[in-house]
Amino acid sequence: MPNENTLSRRGLFMKIGIVFNGLVATALAWPIVRFLFSSVTHASANGYLSWVPLGRVGEFPEGETRLATFRNPYVMPTDGKTVETPCWVRRIEGEQFQVFAINCAHLGCPVRWFPQSGLFMCPCHGGAYYRDGSRASGPPERGLFEYPYKVQDGMVTIQAGELPTPGSPTASLFGNKAPCAAQNVLISIESKLSTSSETSAVAGGTNT
């Protein structure tokens, strides 16, 4: 009977076999892991973001917010319609714009713009935002995501390519605004109170 401390020839071969398989598995694991995480590494290597045109400046009337769509810069052959991305373009005046992501800052549902009340409303959990994208009410913790934009040769161009989510690095790039309306409102509230107590006021005043 062989001594417990001695290693038989076949025992040695088995151990070498195990080590050999371990080495092969490690060698194969590297490309497998790289393949699996390619969507993550691509983001840090080349990045998914690039500048995409939305339309000519003239297509967006001053003081209004319009829906625009763009084709996501990163496309795979089987993407179909999913690469067509909508966004809200607010032309403040001249070449001053704000381009908001369609995705609610709460959980990404598509927000809709209501020009009459100057609010973006979300159909999912009732998040609401003011015309400048700042949070008005509801569950969102922040304002709408904004795409960085520039006006180049008369074209409104935005930097896009990633789904904006509350935790994405682009989300912080897009800015996190405090509710804006409350500050201005407090200043104007007293004057409005005095105006509205005069019951002879004519209805249908201008929309400020």
Binding site: Q116, S137, S168, N184, S196, A201
Partner: protein, 490 residues
Amino acid sequence: MSVIGQIGQWFDRRLQLASPIREVAEHPVPRNTASWWYVFGSAALTVFLLQLVTGILLALIYVPSASEAWSSLQALNHDVTLGWFIRALHGWGSNFMVAIVLIHMVQVFLFGAHKFPRELTWIIGVFLLLMTLGMAFSGQVLRFDQDAYWGLGIGASIASRVPIAGPAIVKLMLGGPIIAGATLSRFFALHVFVIPGMLIGFVGLHLLMVIKLGINDWPMPGRVVRRATYMTEYHELTKKEGAPFVPYAIWKDLFFAGFVLLAVAACAIYFGPFGPTGRPDPTIIQSVPKPDYFFLWLYGLLSYLPPSMETPALLIGPVVAIAFLVLLPFLSGEGEKSWRRRPIAVLTVLLIAIILGTLTHLAGYTPWSPHMNAWSGDPVPERFLHGATALQREGALVFQVKQCRNCHSLGDLGGQRGPALDSVAVRLTQDQLIRQVIQGGGNMPAYGKNLGPAETTALVAFLETLHPAGQAPARDAARDTVLRDSTSHP
């Protein structure tokens, strides 16, 4: 010996499976476990097998490509013979499977089956529940419609909140920077290969342990589980009053399994397949996405959590819940099994059921969501305009045009996000109404920037008429005094 017998012997000499199968089939079980309460596990397995078969059938036609999935589902619904029925069976099968797995879990918990020595059976059961939910979510994604598309967005938004790793998790989940072709393909791989493969393995282990350790004995109040003595007690129980599983207990499993399959088929025929809803085109923003039935409670919870609580609750909540379920057999591995002697257990189950039920019910009609078309579609009830002045009517117009109706109802029509305004004048004085409209607050946006003074005046004049007949509107007594004083002392 008959020819069939000879063929059988030929196979068994090579397979040698007959005696272990007979041993398993005839293993003794305590007589009182041949109960209608013990049929849910086998029913879950039956529905799982139905899902495997119908899933393979659907895969004969379905195309897991973002550009073609929706059309292939339409083809299944309308063009392929009985495609609609197979889709309906698979869809209803998933609803039944989630429900039966939950019922099985509650029954097992209330009967104390998670206690010694069946801890690992319970833990594997917890993972089976998670995999069932994983199948349900990934299945909803494969029904690649608007609900699936925006549902993925919700999933990505939740995943992105994980500190540091969030963005990487989102890209791993989506297979790229946005919800697109790669996203559907990887959910297809999860739904068709990864999770079912794991499910089959775990179900095998789960069943193996049920057979090795024996089915949980019927809990008798006072028959306490002790690690030192349980195994001997159980063996005596099966020896003394045991009966072979086949046919003594299995007939109830068979009857119930048949009944469940019949119920799934009946639902499939009567209600038909689920969706697909609108085409998964993100530019169609007139979409009100909603998750499937078994995730409605989460959809409701996400609306009611205060914003600051949401991220911690979403990230820590599931970890705590799963950890609790996994640790449960170690926290209460011994002691009473009977629900009659475990009031906290019964109350916990009831509390969770009521919470989930209430949230699901609320998510059915989403009182927290604005009614996007109420402002243009819902009429102002006649009684609120009868005898109104021109200013008050102008106010009613402002009320509609400024979308107040999207969140506030009048005469039970309109949104339910804000309070119904049928009697708002009783609750708020004129000044309070103006302040609320302009400044917002309490979950209402401020309209100060979007209402001119004249519009505010008209709106408030209309709101002041909203009080029941015979009940005076609220008024500020101090203001009356001030006004009287200012007129008497010019």
